[in-house]
């Protein structure tokens, strides 16, 4: 069986900004490079925000990714940390979540996610980049709203 080379972990594929941008970007990438094998792994199923031209699977299957796996929030990063398959792991910090999660998470839990030595951070914009650099660690790069060119570079 061929293992998928890259994947993106999403909480849900419903109509959220995150899911819409991710689907749009992957549609663009598939159009320009049909050999690029990127799958969206979702945790909870809802109706897709648009017709898609790539594969989607449940997040339980993400262990099979061989090359690059990208998480998009704290919960999916917790899955990413436990995932042994991918060679490269990235956390695309879509939202500065720790502001909301500090009530139920300790500094140690958050540091395990944001300062994890096995995971590179990807910032969403320059402002986020500076905040992440100041509070946690230096992000690898900026990817504006799932910019398909940057995503293609990361996954290729």
């Amino acid at each position: 069986m061929n293992r998928p080379s890259s994947g993106i972990l999403l909480q849900s594929v419903g109509r959220s900004d995150l899911a819409i941008e991710a689907c749009q970007s992957l549609n663009n990438l598939t159009d320009t490079n049909p050999y690029l094998d990127i799958i969206i792994f979702y945790r909870s199923w809802t109706l897709l925000p648009m017709p898609i031209r790539f594969s989607i699977m449940m997040d339980a299957e993400c262990w099979g990714v061989s090359k690059t796996l990208i998480s998009t929030d704290i919960k999916t990063t917790q899955t990413l940390i436990k995932c042994v398959g991918p060679q490269k792991k990235y956390f695309y910090v879509w939202d500065l979540e720790w502001l909301e999660r500090t009530r139920d998470m300790y500094y140690g839990d958050l540091a395990h996610i944001y300062n994890n030595p096995n995971i590179e951070l990807i910032a969403r914009n320059e402002q986020h980049y500076n905040i992440l650099h100041q509070m946690w660690k230096k992000p690898l790069c900026i990817m504006k709203d799932f910019d398909s060119q940057v995503l293609g570079d990361i996954c290729s």
Partner: protein, 261 residues
Amino acid sequence: MKTVFVQTNSIMALGIAASLMAIKQPCIFWNPQTKSFFDMVDELKPDVIVVTQEHLANDSQLALAMKNFDEAKKIVCLETAIKTQWSQISLDCADVLCDWTLIEPAANVAQFSHGKRVEGYDSDVFYFSDQPASPVIMKVLANCANKYKLKIVGPHSLPLIQFLGQADLSTVCDFMVSTKVAIDYRDRHIMDYRFNDILSIPAESLDAIELDKCINSSQYRTKRMKLHQSVKDKTYFHNIAKIFPELSTIALEKIKSINNE
């Protein structure tokens, strides 16, 4: 020696409790709302009772109940932040307090010592949020957040992106020693910062120019720190040694071993 503390968030009472527990003395926190004073005394038979001046100021029944109680040593924590209430108590019931032992603020070495600089914990300004947010502290922190590398940890969540969540006390200590300047509110940790040789600035009288100088010049920071009196002999272990002669040897040995570590 059994010590009962009236349930409190007082940093002093917690400091004494932590120091007593560090030398393996039993400590119990008692909530007067759920059990009456006489039931507590009957059940626990304490050797020492520790209250804060806030309790005496706000709970007249407690003050009255303890007035004629002389079966245990009675200790009052002098909180500098509520001096006005203290003078009020002194006027109202000075006779209640004549046989009480008074404790002054000191460094809580049992909990806040031996921090180490950690890469990633470094900051220009640090704040330990161990009390609910108030307009004063929020204004100060919001100003700092715009200009400096600010980091905040603690049990009380603050609506700032610089708040990194709750942390255990050893992590808090590491954050403390990894900062250039610490913001202190209501003098809660002033002695702890001084014991650990960290420059702390009170939030109530924060001067933006002064803060800027402290952050940008290590020489200025050192100069300011030299103005402070040494607090190496002002810890709760020293206080315990003074108040309880029977524990003085063990308390002084403990502080000596902490200093040598």
